[in-house]
Subunit: 197 residues, 4 copies
DNA sequence: TATGAATGAGTTTTCATTCAT
DNA sequence: GATGAATGAAAACTCATTCAT
């Protein structure tokens, strides 16, 4: 049984998801016990298994919602390239900061669960493809350098931004003023593309 | 009792390290059992604990050797900036490729073991500091743009390269011709720094 | 609350019994879950407990009906001994074949549930007593050998037939042409009793 | 790890087997918990799993020894038919009585574990084949009736004896003086075969 | 009556670590 | 040093039964 058929069931399921997210964020995936989740959700132990078959399955659902959230906050097209890059970076930063704890767990689970790594890969591919499309457009319009492969550039720059935020927001890698990091990421992106500053 | 006192002891210890590396690479840290290691090393179960107090401890030692290897292959100074960047990137790539399996485990363990994450952080800091020093020098010499903070740039570019290689070599994230990725990483680095090409 | 008070209730109860029999036959008693039964009966989970207090209780009721069926098909007296034995054996065989799946479960449950084993014992005693009565009559009439204890003979022959059918029809113990088995059982019974063939 | 490599290990394994047999006999297979076994064997909980992967596996090993015991006590050929049958029946009876408790469990496990049922089937086939061989010989020698199929007769008679003992010794099915049952089984066997008394 | 959610005791199994030989 | 047995604390998961609606 996974899908609740009543309003009451839906509420319980939601409480379990909320509890799970809280506990995962505090303890990480591996150190989380089902008891922790049910205790936090104020639900009987067995109720967990009424709605989820395994610990992985709750996490997967939370991660899906997370990916959804990261996606939907990507800014729409419209502005000038430099400005659009800045906005996209900031939006990603905001989303990352909002979900930093979960992103840590995402990384953790992806590091040992191949199925989940695959989901993550697909989600990343969507993100990269979106950038690549923009880059291709700007190349056609002669705004940015046309000598580089837009796909590959998109992958590399996404890696730079994602991992920089990961080290900063998740691993708390210290590095002085971090407003500077954001500005630097914008600048590096622009220069790498050959955007006139 | 950890340090072997006899020649024979030293050999046993080494076999355990070798066995551990093989098994870690095949199964990952979490799925590795002490038995797997001792079986692979052709050593009695109890012998593991003669030389290592915990499963973590063998891994830490292997990781230290690994970090050592990654470090010592960084190329010496001397060439022109663009060429030096290229060489450094290639050297890092070669080292990463050589150790890709272990790098996967490194990421895995860092994702849940705070102590190890800290070691990794320090090792990364050394690496970043080395680049930053070079950038500072080139800025002083007027070879590259002086408007960016060299520390921050070094961090961001290191993140780009490290994570790109991680996704490619560890997670096997496909992306067409991968020679192109290496060239792109070189190019992006140079442009981001404002190096005349 | 076990006895349905309304027409509708009686129907639901019957559907549960039908569903239970189907599932028991497919999965055996131990592997049957209440859910399986209610799903098969197209009835809500809770409805099971409206009519039956435990999983055992549905089974007991089904078994009672089964024993009833096995009993009512025993042929009436009347024919000559040899013919009557043949008819009785065939009738028992037909009933067993019809209910082979359930007989397997009967054996299963009797093997761990003392209460049920007792019910089965009583039912078997009725069956044995019926044969014994016939044997006693034939002894009085000088038709069969009078040197054996009719009760004991009835028990032994019943065991032979019951278990032969069990091995053949339930455990699918192969043994060549099985029409032969039936004929052999008839013959052995007749000879054992000292019936002139 | 299943096979102990040291003397000490072999002793522990044996204690577990002994403890398991005792507990199985007292509680049956289903109601036996691993704890019961280890407590009885005066061994740590985990030691069970040092030597056996599952509860089934200990039981299988015990059953193999049991079958072995039942087999090896079958009497050798040599005597006259009637006497040989009597001896074989008594030997089987003695073995059954000695192992009645375990035979109950054997029946229980065979009723829900297909793998075990298969082992049992093979063991029974050996037993039946042995009788059938003797019957064939006696038919060739004109000692017993040649009109019946010796295989089928062997199966039916084995079923009679096995199940009679089962009901008597395991289910304690009462039936007056039970010396009489043994004599009756001998007599029925002889008559069924057409042995001159 | 019917429905489906809630409950939690009970069991198996795993495996790092400790010991005895 | 080397070997392999012994230990027992976890933890996940099941599912009959009870409740609330």
């Amino acid at each position: 049984m996974t899908e609740p058929l009543t309003e009451r069931g839906a509420r319980t399921r939601e409480r379990i998801l909320d509890g799970a997210r809280e506990v995962f964020e505090e303890q990480g995936f591996l150190d989380t016990r089902i008891t922790h989740i049910t205790r936090r959700a104020r639900v009987a132990y067995g109720s967990f298994y009424t709605y989820f078959p395994t610990k992985e399955s709750v996490f997967f659902e939370l991660a899906d919602r997370l990916f959804e959230d990261m996606h939907t906050h990507e800014p729409a097209a419209g502005a000038a390239p430099a400005e659009r890059i800045r906005r996209a970076n900031r939006a990603y930063y905001e989303a990352y900061r909002r979900n930093a704890r979960m992103m840590a767990i995402v990384e953790q689970v992806a590091s040992f669960n191949e199925e989940f790594a695959e989901r993550r890969r697909k989600h990343r591919a969507l993100h990269v493809e979106r950038s690549a499309r923009a880059f291709r457009g700007w190349q056609r319009d002669g705004i940015i350098d046309a000598s580089l492969d837009p796909e590959t550039v998109a992958r590399a720059l996404a890696a730079m931004i994602e991992h920089s935020l990961y080290l900063w927001l998740v691993h708390d890698d210290p590095g002085g003023d971090n407003e500077v990091l954001l500005d630097t990421l914008d600048a590096l992106t622009a220069r790498a593309l050959g955007l006139p500053s």
